[in-house]
Symmetry: C2
Subunit: 223 residues, 2 copies
DNA sequence: TATAAAACTTTCTAAGAGACAGTTTATATT
DNA sequence: AATATAAACTGTCTCTTAGAAAGTTTTATA
């Protein structure tokens, strides 16, 4: 059995290398040659596997979004209540494995590609929709139906805002601070009763523990 | 009296042209030649007034941030209470003159420049700090002191999030929707009493009217 | 082992960033 | 007004980059 085609392995290596290049040299400083250099191949190989530079950057963009997806699925597997699934979403976005200098910075750098790349737009739109849908699904359990959509939307937008700010300044972002901001906003937006607040705190603690294991760097090596 | 030096006029023309180019061709598609073409001069002129491409993009970035500043000052002039000044901040960020397809898209495109350009980082950091300080100053009047900083920070982050989402998809953003989201979040975060809510509504209405005049496209031609 | 397809390399071209030398235009000084 | 000086601008040259194309090697499969 052939595990994965050479092409798919190369594409993965190359998009990883491109990610590296974007971190090191910025979007404008990322050239096909540098990407090849990091991957240990010639520029020609890069263009053999990606039709042009846009296609390569698109793959990097897709990759960084899929990291988020993977981490969410891992946490979902161990979340057993709406509150816990809600916090799984939060920790998927703001655990060290995902919410770190490199990834945030790369994401912000790649944002510039989106307005003129309809494939990136689709990826990003799908991502926003997925987060909103996930949040809505859990919010329904502790918020009146007619406010669910609005709150889910706002929390999604807030997540983007936190990410952007983290990416802009090329410093290590503070996971706990981000999670605090998310919690703070949530509790006010859903007007959580003190009983509900306890559930949230408990769920956050549990998912935090799970995230520490399930999203540990050793276990988190994407294909 | 010499109104403005030739250089300063040229720099302004050129950064305006560069802004145009970023909109039309994206960050990666923006070349010095195209910028010159839009401005009706040769590439050499561009490099005469800006030491390199980064310096040019920096100027565009600064420009789009200063638009925000100008619109805020205009509205402040007519705001007469904390509530009104609070809403002046909101309308400075989300009036058609500022919050439109072109500006949002350019802003997002230029974000990619920030992580590797310390001057852009300084501009952006100053901007964040200013918005936070402005918000804090007004929030103090209808929120207990020990929550002011946190809420100001969150609202600033939310504004960034709304902007990013608007810039990503190259469509005309919806000003009223953005303002509704901002209002919605504010009212919950400050736990506004029904009396306070009335003040907010009234202030929003008033500033809306003022913005329609003071920020009308005819009157808003930045230097 | 023959054949095709996929992976990879090398070479070439057009376009871009930016340096530099030289020319023109504006400003200030006597 | 005449001259000096600085600023604005132009054209040319070099080096780097994206990407196309044509050719070579490797791998898979019948």
């Amino acid at each position: 059995m052939q595990a994965r085609s050479i092409s798919s392995i190369r594409r993965s290596e190359l998009s990883q290398a491109a990610f590296e290049a974007v971190i090191r040299y910025g979007l404008r400083g990322t050239t096909l040659e540098k990407v090849g250099e990091i991957a240990g191949v010639s520029k020609g190989v890069v263009l053999h596997h990606f039709k042009d530079k846009s296609a390569l950057l698109e793959a990097v963009f897709r990759r960084s979004n899929s990291l988020l997806n993977i981490s969410l699925l891992r946490l979902y597997r161990h979340a057993e209540s709406p509150y816990e699934r809600f916090w799984a979403i939060a920790y998927a976005n703001f655990s060290e494995t995902i919410y770190n200098r490199e990834v945030c910075q790369a994401w912000v750098s790649l944002l510039a590609e989106v307005p003129h790349n309809s494939m990136c737009q689709r990826v990003q739109a799908a991502n926003n929709a997925r987060i909103k849908s996930n949040l809505s699904h859990e919010l329904r359990h502790f918020l009146v139906e007619n406010r669910v959509s609005e709150v889910a939307n706002l929390l999604g937008t807030l997540i983007d805002g936190i990410w952007v700010r983290a990416g802009l300044f090329a410093i290590t972002p503070d996971c706990d601070k981000a999670l605090d901001e998310f919690e703070f906003t949530t509790l006010y937006l859903v007007e959580a009763s003190s009983e509900q607040q306890k559930y949230h705190k408990a769920a956050r603690e549990k998912i935090k523990t799970i995230a520490k294991i399930a999203l540990s760097p050793e276990l988190f090596q994407p294909k």
